[in-house]
Amino acid sequence: MYFGKRRNWSIPYVLFLVFFVLVPLALIVLFAFTSEAGGFSFENFRKFLMHPEAMNILIYSIGVALITTILCLLIGYPAAYILSRMETSRARLLVMLFILPMWINFLIRTLATVALFDFLKLPLGEGALLFGMVYNFLPFMIYPIYNILLKTDQNLIEAAEDLGANPRQVFFRTILPLSYPGITSGIMMVFMPVISTFAIAELLTINNIKLFGTTLQENIYNGMWNYGAALSLLMLLLIGIISLLNTQGSARAAEEGGLI
């Protein structure tokens, strides 16, 4: 092709991907279907179904992730909307201010939240957990929605106005539907990390509330690799289902999430 025979240059990375991405994922599946004694079995999944504790934690985590996502959407959408209406240079600066905290280690951010609650003499617990989650993940909701609102064709909005829609109708029937792609990436980018974190909950509730991530980590740490792998596989499946439900969101979410 254009640059000579450099296609071979992809070989080291392909091998790397196989060894460090595909094989490890296959190992999760392998461990999940192996009993502690060795040999193929469904024992780990049976254990999950028999023990209500892990199941309850999973359901509770999904609940926390849902509430966090809804709060982020309710708080973040107006912010993204206001930002998208501002003159560009000012909006860019403000958007950067919103994204900046995202680049600080989330443990430091979480500890800062603990500090804030201590400072205001507020108790740690469920309320602190939700505040901490929203605080940590709000920028992930604002950014994709802002981006999509910015790209929205102004003519469509004007057309709606010209055709006699009142401001409320313009918003609910034109602007909001046009921003769905941004909303779906935002939901993915908030819901997915919330459901898999563990340290945030530990620090903000003084270890009183466990999320599914904590259960995963504890099992692996206590040497229950097979059970831990089975739980990881369940989480992978859950996340796979959510991504499938949201076909367009995931790839874009990844692109917009990592880069500035």
Binding site: F3, S10, P78, I104, L111, D118, A199, S232, M235
Partner: protein, 265 residues
């Protein structure tokens, strides 16, 4: 009226986002052991952070973080750039396949990446330490380097490279003099991104660092916070990290701003 309402909404959100960080920065300038007690202005926490001695473990955690971050960033920039050049020359079907696998570490929640790599290392009986952490970080950093170098390749004018060959340059010389300067901006953003991702990482590090006492800033903070007492020196450290990230971000932003300006010209 509307303007005031909307600006104050953004203002309140920003205050909420920054209040915790500001509290940490403000209280890094006082000596009190417990956060929230103001015992007068002092730089003692800053000096004792760098003197080592008492807080030797924190300083070594800081060094480990930087060494791991730099190694991971260097390795993933080299590997990712080479991979991007290779991928660019593959057939479009192969490109799609490699890019699909390339996106797995980006899409996977970090705890899944962490557990899968943990299982890999224990299955192979590799003892965990520096090498495993760096390998793990390279795993989740390289995809981002590939993604930031590939667009540069796509945008490059292929005739330039061919012209160099026609004028008698060896493929290596053409690579060095024509291709690399074009790829450099992508490589630099990839490097910075890899470095920030690495120093920011906690979950993957925790699972691949082993239990030989090796610590990074993240694992140190985690262990410290679980013990209940937060080392006061973490306050100045967080303040320094915040300022560093701020400066890095402004630098990256200027780079991209320059790039967009050039595009409009």
């Amino acid at each position: 009226m509307r303007r005031i309402l909307s600006s104050s909404y953004l203002g309140i959100l920003l205050v909420m986002l920054y209040a915790p960080i500001l509290i940490i920065i403000v209280f890094s300038f006082t000596e009190a052991k417990v956060l929230g007690n103001w015992t007068g202005f002092s730089l003692k926490l800053y000096t004792s952070l760098f003197e080592g001695g008492v807080h030797h473990s924190l300083t070594s955690a800081l060094w480990n973080t930087l060494i791991i971050g730099l190694s991971a960033a260097v390795v993933s920039t080299l590997l990712g750039t080479m991979a991007a050049i290779g991928i660019f020359n593959l057939s479009s079907r192969q490109q799609k396949a490699v890019q699909l696998v390339n996106s797995i570490p980006i899409l996977n929640p970090d705890i899944i990446t962490a557990i899968s790599l943990f299982l890999l290392f224990v299955s192979l009986g590799i003892s965990q330490g520096y090498t495993t952490v760096i390998l793990a970080h390279v795993t989740f950093c390289t995809p981002y380097v590939v993604l930031s170098v590939l667009p540069r390749l796509r945008r490059m004018n292929p005739s330039l490279y061919e012209a160099a060959l026609d004028l008698g340059a060896t493929p290596f010389l053409a690579l060095r003099k024509v291709m690399l300067p074009e790829l450099k901006p992508g490589m630099i953003s990839g490097f910075i991104l890899a470095f920030t991702l690495s120093i920011d990482d906690f979950v993957v590090t925790l699972f691949t660092i082993g239990n030989e006492g090796l610590e990074t800033i993240s694992t140190y903070i985690y262990a410290d916070a679980r013990k209940g007492g937060l080392t006061p020196e973490l306050r100045p450290l967080s303040a320094i990290i915040f300022i560093t990230v701020l400066v890095l971000l402004i630098l990256i932003n200027q780079r991209t701003a320059k790039k967009t300006n050039m595009k409009t010209i």
